[in-house]
């Protein structure tokens, strides 16, 4: 039996799935047109304090930029940025989109923190069987709407706090037409260096500009004698900066108090953006 195939049949494809996907991307581009800079904060490894630094950077920038700063928490399964910035729901829905929550220093925040029940994991409707097959698409769809359907308004800077992993930056970067670049966060250890190196390489090969490296938990300051002592062996920040020929934007010591103040980072990041 022979019959015509897709391109042989000239009739319109009413579902137009390709057009629907294109429309989704157009909505993202339209919403982000009023955002001057979109910066990814990434790391290959979990537990390096990436969300903590994202919050610190947002605060540092909010003090330097009059046009407004936003943070999108792309770590959908383990959201933490909203709490660090003191942002709370509920989110107000308007005809045009969803108002982001507003945290300290007027920072606009969007996160699954506002959507999930207290202590509940990220869960999806429908049958749980074989959920892993569609989970990636569900998460990308959620991030797409966090970009396109949140009323970000005019912003000087939107930080996107990525979950650990090497491929998130490239996947999300492909959705953002005006992506400025990515900041990599590491701790000093060799394990972190190897992991973050993979992420930075994936980002660069995906066409994302690397803005620099920030080394977190670079030792701690002894309260008694006021000397700085190492927390980890290794020199990952400088090594990654050298490997990828970008600046080491700062070394941030461990802060037992969780103090978000990192004013010098703000200057370094602004320099990297210049």
């Amino acid at each position: 039996m022979s019959f015509r195939t897709y391109f042989d049949v000239p009739d319109a494809d009413r579902s137009g799935l390709g057009n629907q996907i294109a429309e989704q991307r157009r909505r993202v581009a339209q919403r982000l047109a009023s955002v001057r800079r979109v910066v990814l904060v990434m790391s290959g490894k979990g537990g390096v304090g990436k969300s903590f630094l994202t919050a610190a950077l947002a605060r540092a920038m909010a003090g330097r930029m009059r046009g407004g700063v936003g943070v999108l928490d792309a770590d959908l399964r383990s959201p933490t940025v909203a709490r660090l910035l003191g942002a709370n729901g509920p989110l107000t829905v308007t005809d045009d989109g969803v108002q982001p929550a507003v945290g300290v220093d007027g920072i606009k925040v969007m996160s699954t923190e506002f959507l999930l029940g207290e202590g509940r994991p990220l869960e999806w409707r429908g049958p749980a069987q074989e959920r892993f097959v569609s989970r990636g698409s569900l998460e990308v769809g959620t991030l797409r709407e966090f970009l396109s359907d949140v009323l970000w308004g005019e912003l000087d800077m939107l930080f996107i706090d990525l979950p650990p992993g090497a491929d998130g930056a490239v996947e999300l970067g492909g959705l953002i037409p005006n992506l400025t670049g990515a900041l990599a966060v590491t701790i000093p250890s060799e394990e972190s260096r190897a992991s973050v190196s993979r992420t930075m390489r994936a980002a660069r090969e995906g066409g994302i500009r690397l803005l620099g490296v920030i080394e977190n938990m670079s030792g701690y300051r002894c309260d008694g004698c006021d000397t700085a002592r190492p927390l980890f062996s290794g020199n990952a920040g400088a090594e990654l900066a050298g490997e990828f020929r970008v600046d080491l934007l700062g070394r941030v010591p461990f802060s037992p108090s969780g103090d978000l103040g990192a004013p010098n980072l703000g200057d370094a990041v602004l320099k990297a953006l210049a």
Binding site: Q20, L115, W124, G126, P127, S134
Partner: protein
Amino acid sequence: MKFLCITCDEAMVFSERQEPGDGTFAAGFTCPKCGHAIALLANPMETQLVGALGVKIGGRELDQAPMEFVRSKMLGQDGAFAEEPPSTDSGQRTADSALAAKPRWSPEATARLDRVPNFVRGMVKKIYTEYAAERRIAEITPEVMDRARSELGLEGM
């Protein structure tokens, strides 16, 4: 996606979409020449795969509501979203005329809407209301909701 009636060598025409609420999806297609009708039946996993892309088989009928994907796919907490109260018209339309243009909700439909999780209720109400208003349906009943759910592909709403 296209369907071809091999006998007539004609592209079949999309006729209707059904989401019976059991996680599956059905789409009907008819040959415009011989009238032969077929149904595409997708199992829950296939339905979920297509739904996870945020697209509608057969095309989109209404404009996308804010955070429609998130609200219809994610299991979120009640009270996560607060619907903005309708703005008061300052133009020529009076409050009465604005209300007159909106379809009524029958008590049965209201009771059914109340069973929709709070996380999505506001959005679902808006979608049904727009569906009825566009078709000049004066009253939203459970039957209208069933029809809208089928036509618009509102799984579980």
